[in-house]
Amino acid sequence: MRTIRFLLQKEFRQIFRNKAILALIMVMPIIQLIILPLAADYEIKNINLSVVDHDHSPYSRHLISTITASGYFRLQGYHSSMREAYDLIEQDKSDLALEIPSGFERNLIRQQVDKQQLFIAVNAINGTKAGLGGAYLSSIIRDYNQHIRMEWITPARIQPIPTIEVVPSNRFNPLLKYQFFMVPGILAILLTMVGGFLSALNIVKEKEIGTIEQINVTPIKKHHFILGKLIPFWVLGNVVFTLGLLVSWLIYGIFPQGNILAMYGFIWVFLLAVLGFGLLISTYTDTQQQAMFIMFFFMMIFILMGGLFTSIDSMPAWAKVVSRLNPVSYLVEVMRMIILKGSGWSDILPHLGTMLGFAAALNGWAIWNYRKTS
């Protein structure tokens, strides 16, 4: 125990002495937490719409104004041909083109042709945006359609037809704010990055400057040495996380709905796991540059496969397996559960168990692979 005390004293002194790095550790995550959710806004709005109206009738105009009034679409302009609209899509000036055929009003209202078609072309390079944009437009047209029927069909004239009304309700985020979704995830990523990179570079740095030799000839126990490295970053991770939580509360008004203690409990174990992973990489590499690159490689996989941007449910089976082996995916999920859904201890218990396993395995491996003797 005494040895650990001295190791800790040393590590903390070194951390606090390097003011530039310390400031970076504290300030960078906060700046990122402020900017990233603003940038990472996938809320679909401002879809640029080009209209080719061959009909020029009151009904077609009404349809267009209904669409633009929805708030999702921004009228980019009117065009005389679809060719022109396609050109704009090609130049990325427009995302979606709507063609209203001539005779739209006549067919629909006066002649009561059964089906009156509208033609819509969507720039689908960005699949999400295209999918949602198309869906929004369809549902607006559906509503408009309903509206016309109400207007023209006198209740007596038709047989009553059964209708099913779908009543949607959005739990945990009724206003569908995208930031609610992103902020907990970004917090998770920042924590992972700070912990992972710092610990990965640390032992390697001692290797590079040679001080590790001096440590290796002392009777220090391997697990003491690793613990001495682990604890300071663990404390730092907690500080960064708490700061992040404060920032998301002050700026985005996002405050954990669930059990805060459960969240910290999970964070504590998670930090152990991610720091263990960093130390593990540290024991396998010889230079800081190598450690950096290898960590970068894994970070990329962890973050992309962590369910931050895309849902893990939609992944193919092999990718689901990979994401089960990814500690970050559990963190992202737990953060969203506790912060947004108000989950508590019992809800996160399985995740906590898995994370304990990760922490034990990674740290065990790191201790095993840290050799005092070559």
Binding site: R2, T3, R5, F6, L7, Q9, K10, R13, Q14, R17, N18, I209, G210, T211, E213, Q214, I215, N216, V217, T218, P219, I220, K372, T373, S374
Partner: protein, 248 residues
């Protein structure tokens, strides 16, 4: 205590890296309180041999005991009984003088009171009172080396290994450094030192000279000189090292 009691004893100690034999069956003994010079050209295998003796590197073959402990099985006990100062300066440059002393003393298990008195004493002996709270990185090289040595014997080991401790240091500081070494030896600490400076070799009680991984000569400086018919250690070294195939 028997002055002829061996504290380092090696028998055909060997280290191979693949096909390359870095250290080839070296056998020697070092006695308590002795200053043992370990000489050789660059690449002769000195550092590798020393790393094996310190428990930093596992030998490929042969036997050795350090302070009575086996080099294979008892590396942790060995580490309690030795001090080590590497070629590369290896105190923490971003800690102060005092913090470094306390840290290394602490991990060798010195008690709080012991630490306090020892570090006080050490700083006074080195005349570093004014620098005690300065970062080690700000000290001139010579002072750093003296500090590193003092730290390596802080826990009163029975043997201290010094790997080219005076490289790049001015003659005056070297002289002071050797005064520290003598002091340690007179306190019963065995000193095992590698060096390139032949005048330093003359300060040693006994020396060995390694060529291409093997020990080619072993004895007191006087013995070696008379054996080889040379007037200086320079000459002895030159005669032996001339035949070396490895090195620069």
């Amino acid at each position: 205590m028997n002055p002829q009691e061996p504290v380092i004893k090696t028998e055909k100690l060997t280290k191979r890296f693949g096909d390359f034999i870095a250290v080839n069956e070296i056998t020697f003994e070092v006695y308590k309180g002795e200053i043992f010079g370990f000489l050789g050209a660059n690449g002769a295998g000195k550092t590798t041999a020393m790393r094996m003796l310190c428990g930093l590197s596992t030998p490929s073959a042969g036997h050795a005991t350090i302070a009575g402990f086996d080099i294979y099985r008892q590396t942790e006990q060995i580490k309690r009984n030795i001090g080590y100062m590497s070629q590369k300066f290896s105190l923490y440059e971003d800690l102060t003088v005092l913090e470094n002393i306390r840290f290394f003393g602490g991990i060798y298990g010195l008690g709080d009171r012991q630490l306090k008195s020892k570090s006080q004493e050490l700083i006074e002996r080195l005349g570093l009172q004014a620098e005690a709270k300065k970062l080690v990185g700000e000290l001139p090289l010579g002072w750093k080396q003296k500090l590193a040595f003092s730290v390596s014997v802080l826990h009163e080991p029975s043997i201290v290994f010094l790997d080219e401790p005076t490289g790049g240091v001015d003659p005056v500081t070297r002289r002071q450094f050797w005064a520290l070494i003598y002091e340690a030896a007179s306190n019963g600490i065995t000193v095992f030192v590698t060096t390139h400076y032949m005048d330093e070799a003359e300060y040693c009680n006994r020396i060995s000279i390694m060529v291409d991984g093997s020990i080619e000569a072993l004895g007191t400086p006087k013995q070696l000189k008379s054996q080889m018919n040379e007037t200086s250690m320079d000459g002895v070294f030159y005669q032996l090292a001339r035949g070396a195939k490895r090195g620069e």
